[in-house]
């Protein structure tokens, strides 16, 4: 068992479709300086840095070194971690491991992406096996669409049911000054948007954003002195599967990696009934259907019940378990930062710093990361020291 660790500060950029005014390392610095200010720390207080983004996105191989001016890691221990869509959550978890190990007291975690600088589909397809799957599963949309049709056929969920997830998240984004898309999008708008791969329409999927996120983690003893209300790590869990699309998950059983990771995390956190014991969730939902199927995999409602659970506004602000007060991935998607934003936004909720997007009295928060061939990271944060 490692040391207890908490998030003591977070920072993020104002996310946009493109940031021609800064390079990615200059953009990283915006997030890092705001995280340091949030924690009231100086860069000299940081003992180690973990950074990550998507491989192949900016065509910069050694981002650990490239980013030095922005991360502040000059002559400090720094490591790059990259796990596809989950990258940002994995970076946060790796930073947690650093602090929990006892080797480093204050660790900076950074995730970033300038999606505008690459061909996102071309870069994303490098997640598929080059020999067996890349010929066909071009980009992220087809594999997700396949999952969605299986879910539709199994439970009779409609395209409107899924669209409500998009409407909810885009409405929530109006409360988040950092969100990329800050225009409401309705079920009707989503239904009228062009069909990409059945049943996924343009309005069902996440945008491409430029942005960065940073978090500062501190070990027990230091965390309490640094933040008045630190966000303690109660549990983390990582589950990876095969890249074979025919064998990475069971399209008819659910997202197996998310089921296993969340069950392990709940057990570690002592959570028996997640929907009752969690106060808020920041979930990596890259498309609307995930907001139905995956909340079942997370055990937030029963199999086939998500359309009704979401339809009854249980996951809207003010509901039983608000999901994505930040607006989520449907509103902001700077991929290497996207999963870290889930963890950072969960920390913001627990620390009570959410402003207009704050869920009142949020104590326990769930954050997830999702990657390419159906793998999952889960983090549970709490205002209560475990």
């Amino acid at each position: 068992m490692g040391r207890k660790v908490a998030v003591v500060g977070t920072g993020q950029t104002y996310h946009r479709s493109h940031r021609p005014d800064v390079t990615s390392r200059e953009m990283i610095r915006e997030a890092v300086t705001s995280a340091l200010a949030d924690a009231d720390l100086k860069i000299k207080d940081i003992d180690a840095v973990v950074i990550g983004n998507m491989d192949h996105f900016e065509s910069i191989n050694y981002v650990d070194t490239y980013s030095i001016e922005g991360s502040g890691a000059f002559m400090k221990p720094i490591m790059k971690v990259s796990t596809g869509g989950t990258t940002g959550a994995t970076v946060a978890i790796a930073a947690y491991y650093h602090a929990a190990s006892g080797l480093f007291d204050r660790v900076l975690a950074v995730g970033f992406e300038k999606n505008s600088e690459s061909d996102t589909t071309g870069a994303i397809i490098t997640c598929s096996d080059p020999i067996w799957d890349r010929f066909s599963y071009s980009g992220a949309i087809p594999s997700l669409a396949t999952e969605a049709t299986a879910y539709m056929e199994q439970y009779g969920a409609t395209q409107e049911d899924a669209a409500l997830v998009g409407e909810r998240d885009r409405n929530h984004a109006l409360n988040n000054p950092y969100a990329h898309l800050q225009r409401p999008l309705t079920v009707k708008d989503i239904m009228a948007s062009p069909m990409l791969a059945y049943p996924i329409k343009l309005g069902d999927i996440c945008p491409r954003s430029d942005g960065a996120c940073a978090m500062i983690l501190a070990a027990d003893g230091i965390a309490q002195k640094t933040a008045s209300r630190p966000a303690w790590f109660k549990a983390v869990s990582v589950r990876h599967t095969y890249t074979w699309f025919g064998d990475s998950t069971d399209y008819n059983k659910g997202l197996v990696s998310m089921q296993q990771a969340s069950q392990e995390a709940y057990a570690r956190a002592g959570i028996r009934s997640p929907v009752d014991e969690l106060d808020v969730a920041e979930l990596y939902l890259p498309y609307t259907w995930a907001g139905l199927k995956w909340i079942e995999d997370l055990g937030l409602c029963g199999r086939g019940e998500a359309a009704r659970f979401v339809g009854d506004k249980n996951t809207h602000m003010g509901g039983k378990l608000p999901i994505n007060p930040s607006g989520g991935v449907i509103s902001t998607n700077c991929i290497g930062a996207t999963a870290m934003l889930r963890v950072a936004e969960a920390a913001i909720q627990v620390m009570g710093k959410g402003g207009k997007r704050q869920v009142p009295e949020a104590k326990n928060a769930l954050a997830t990361g999702f990657g390419g061939c159906f793998w999952t990271d889960v983090v549970i944060l709490s205002s209560e020291r475990p």
Binding site: T121, I131, W132, F135, T146, A197, W244, G246
Partner: protein, 151 residues
């Protein structure tokens, strides 16, 4: 100090590289592809521990973490497990839309086989039977199976 920003023209540079990778398929994968090309046969492999039949054939089982040596010939037929019909165009797609990507459970296999369906798109449903159509010119690649068609 901040005034100069109003007059700045943010410049953009275009990348010049296209990286021509080549991938070695390996002995196991090569035997699978050569069987498609030369004999129009689909070969799988069976894990000695869990008994799962993988297709395309794999050299080892990920879950049991043991070597696999048993080859299994599969019928070029199976059922649709899940699919999507693609409507958007992108240069990296294998054919022009609309077409379907489908996960097909070949008879005797325990994992889905990822491939294309080009015809009868309005009739597709999970559970329907499909059959492999081999392409006339085969060069040792997964698209030596042209696509699957409803039986």
């Amino acid at each position: 100090m901040s005034d100069w920003r109003k007059d700045v023209e943010p410049l953009t540079l275009k990348g010049q590289i296209a990286i021509p990778y080549t991938w070695h398929v390996g002995d196991v994968g090569s035997r699978f592809l050569a069987a498609l090309r030369d004999e129009k046969k689909i070969l799988g492999s069976r894990c000695p521990e869990c008994g799962k039949v993988f297709v395309p054939a794999r050299k080892n089982c990920g879950a049991c973490f043991v070597d696999i040596s048993e080859w299994v010939e599969l019928k070029p037929e199976g059922v649709i497990e899940a699919y999507t019909i693609v409507h958007y165009s992108h240069p990296i797609q294998p054919v022009k839309p609309p077409f379907a990507y489908a996960l097909i459970k070949l008879d005797g296999a325990d994992v889905g086989f990822l491939h294309l369906i080009k015809k009868d798109l309005d009739k597709l449903k999970n559970g329907l039977r499909v059959k492999a159509e081999f392409s006339g010119e085969r060069t040792g690649k997964i698209l030596d199976i042209d696509s699957f068609e409803l039986v």
